[in-house]
């Protein structure tokens, strides 16, 4: 067989990407630059022509600009940022602490619950873990919580946001896999809450046996009359919960598209901030600017990845990937495990934004062709795959020594928290994640039952 180097250009593209990303130059521009550079290399080998670069622009136009699904993303980012700035998150944490003050590990449980509720609004791993660490860790340290327990709880709960809808990651996955955002959101609900309940069960059991790990709050913390507690709940617990149910519910029951629901969520967050008396022109301006920066970052990678994957395809990348995969001779299960392995490994170094935008376009032709017989109906494979991917990514962000979330946590934690303690604390949660992943893999109905019941 003849060897032509130009047949392997897409592989070199990936190799170049893998190496250059570690230069620390922004991912968005490396993606675009490599796409351009390999287009020129392809021109040298006569397998690409300059005019083909024109196609990048219509692809940006059709895929990113003229796309009402992706229009949800800036509004979800705004909603999350506004809720953080409006003090809703810290009020919520405080209220949960008061409610759970007599339960073993009450503070840790309230962190998990807050993570679950706020998960519905945030979703960039760096941002949500940083927010949770800054809000919860000082309180837990002050109460002499066991440090590994505290950090493990925060990191695991802070990363739930990518799984529990409305999650920006699921919007992007649905868009890339050409599936319905609403369905994917619904599919993620049970797996997300299952993981959250695993965490809580673990905390309850552990703190039940070893109360010294989690000293309770003093009895006089918070209001002591039933009326006072009720008022606290009404003021800080119900509003964000209501907002989340409004957003999710309107999608679930088909009242609104995810984009419209995102608009409702954004407006609701402004309203909550106003009710909390934390809305001012300065806050609104700050939240808008911050959200714009996050959006610029996210769509920057989206644009770069569009250029990269267009050139990758034009150079025959799809065929190479399919050939490679076929030459491995793996069945559908083997392929699934291999893809999961790749994504898990990438999760050590990259946030989901890069992984989803680089890996999914490359592998989406394979994903559609996976066949699991009676285990998963062919029409539902993609949804199941996306949920597995989401749980897998979350696990990867938590796994030492390279877990992405752990570094962010270390970056903002007080100096007495050592990275070894963070590693030690996360291990039980990683095990819980693996159990969850195994369960969704073995019993696809955990993800697929709810959409079937609600939407069909």
């Amino acid at each position: 067989m003849d060897f032509y180097i130009e047949d392997y250009l897409p592989l070199f593209m990936f190799a170049a990407l893998g190496i250059l990303l570690f230069s620390g130059y922004p991912v968005a521009f490396i993606l675009g630059g490599i796409g351009l550079a390999f287009g020129f290399v392809g021109m040298y080998f006569d397998v690409f022509s300059f005019i083909q670069f024109f196609n990048v622009v219509p692809r940006i136009w059709g895929g990113i600009a003229e796309n009402l699904v992706l229009t949800a993303i800036p509004m979800f980012i705004f909603m999350g940022t506004m809720l953080e700035r409006s003090g809703v998150a810290s009020d919520l944490l405080h209220c949960l602490q008061v409610l759970l003050r007599r339960v073993p590990g009450g503070l840790a449980l309230s962190v998990t619950l807050m993570g679950t509720i706020m998960a519905a609004t945030t979703g960039i791993i760096g941002a949500s873990v940083v927010m949770m660490t800054l809000l919860a860790l000082p309180v837990m340290l002050k109460r002499n919580y066991n440090i590994p327990l505290a950090t493990g709880t925060i990191a695991a709960s802070g990363t739930l946001g990518i799984l529990i809808p409305p999650s920006i990651m699921l919007v992007i996955m649905a868009d890339l896999l050409a599936r319905s955002v609403g369905n994917l959101f619904v599919a993620a609900i049970i797996p997300g809450f299952m993981l959250a309940s695993f965490y809580m069960l673990y905390i309850l059991v552990l703190c039940g046996f070893k109360p010294q790990l989690a000293p309770p709050l003093p009895e006089d913390e918070g209001p002591d009359t039933a009326g006072g507690i009720l008022l606290l709940v009404l003021r800080s617990f119900i509003p964000p919960l209501f907002l989340v149910f409004l957003v999710l519910g309107s999608i679930l029951f088909g009242w609104a598209t995810p984009t419209e629901a995102a608009g409702v969520g954004g407006a609701g967050a402004i309203l909550l901030a106003a009710v909390n008396r934390r809305l001012s022109f300065a806050v609104l301006k700050d939240v808008l600017e911050r959200s714009a920066l996050t959006g610029g970052m996210l769509f920057g990678i989206f644009l770069g990845a569009t250029c990269f994957s267009y050139v990758f395809r034009a150079l025959g990348g799809d065929d190479i990937v399919i050939d490679l995969v076929e030459s491995l001779g793996l069945g559908s299960w083997g392929l699934l495990l291999m893809l999961m392995g790749i994504v898990f490994f990438l999760g050590f170094f990259f946030d989901w934004i890069e992984i989803t935008l680089i890996v999914l376009p490359v592998f989406s032709p394979i994903i559609g062709a996976l066949d699991f017989g009676d285990h998963v109906a062919p029409l539902e494979v993609t949804y199941w795959f996306a949920i597995l991917l989401a749980v897998n990514l979350q696990t990867s962000f938590l796994t030492p020594p390279f877990g992405f979330a752990l570094f962010y946590m270390k970056g903002v934690a007080p100096p007495q928290v050592k990275i070894q303690q963070i590693y030690k604390g996360i291990i039980p949660f990683v095990l819980l994640q693996l159990i969850g992943l195994g369960l969704v893999m073995a019993f696809p109905d955990i993800a697929l039952w709810l959409p079937r019941v609600l939407l069909n």
């Binding site: 620390g24 927010m131 800054l134 008396r277």
Partner: protein, 207 residues
């Protein structure tokens, strides 16, 4: 060198200003969406125009904030190895990145983006839907313009790195301080007054 600083500072101010103004498109996006949702329930208005306005605002928002995000250092970097490199090496990487990746990539999108916009203008393209918005070339032009701002932000960063690499000590320090002041830090996400919410104090009420 003085001149380079003045050029980079001016570009910087302009691009950040544009980003900050474009950021308000986010608010309009929410307002338009809400208006669409509410009016569709109660009145029978065509919402095609509103929905198209939504993604128009989305385009304005992301395209005009690309350069703004670069100057604020908000674009994701893989920091794993970078942290171990000397400052000089990092500056060199930034120079190489701007020259080899960012600027050619922007050039590509601008070049073909203008072409794309001109085709739209030449055919006086309007929405495919009869009740949609007209003048499609206006919004199509936003993409090359946005990449133009991104390229200008790349030039700003490039000039600054060159000053840091080759300039005299005092200018180097000045540039460094400007950059430091602009970068968004991670822990800015949660403002100090919201941290460690302990006890039931609220808005300065006594405990």
């Amino acid at each position: 060198m003085e001149l380079l600083i003045r050029v980079s500072d001016t570009l910087d101010r302009v691009i950040i200003k544009i980003g900050k103004v474009a950021a308000w498109a986010g608010l309009f996006l929410i307002l338009v969406t809400i208006f669409d949702v509410v009016t569709r329930r109660f009145l029978v208005l065509g919402s095609t125009k509103l929905q198209e306005a939504e993604w128009h605002l989305h385009v304005v928002l992301f395209a005009f904030c690309l350069g703004y995000a670069y100057l604020k250092d908000a674009h994701v970097r893989i920091d794993l190895l970078r942290e171990n490199l000397s400052e000089r090496t990092q500056w060199w990487i930034e120079v190489a990145g701007c020259l080899l990746f960012l600027l050619p990539y922007c050039g590509l999108v601008i070049w073909f983006g203008i072409d794309f916009t001109q085709r739209s203008y030449a055919t006086q393209e309007i929405s495919a839907s009869a009740t949609g918005l007209t003048h499609r070339f206006l919004i199509k032009a936003v993409i090359p313009i946005g990449f133009g701002f991104l390229a200008l932000s790349g030039i700003t960063v490039l000039l600054r790195k060159l000053i840091e690499l080759f300039g005299p000590e005092d200018l180097r320090k000045r540039v460094h301080d400007t950059e430091e002041a602009e970068v968004e830090h991670l822990d800015d996400i949660v403002p100090p007054e919201l941290r460690e919410h302990d006890g039931n104090t609220r808005d300065g009420e006594p405990k």
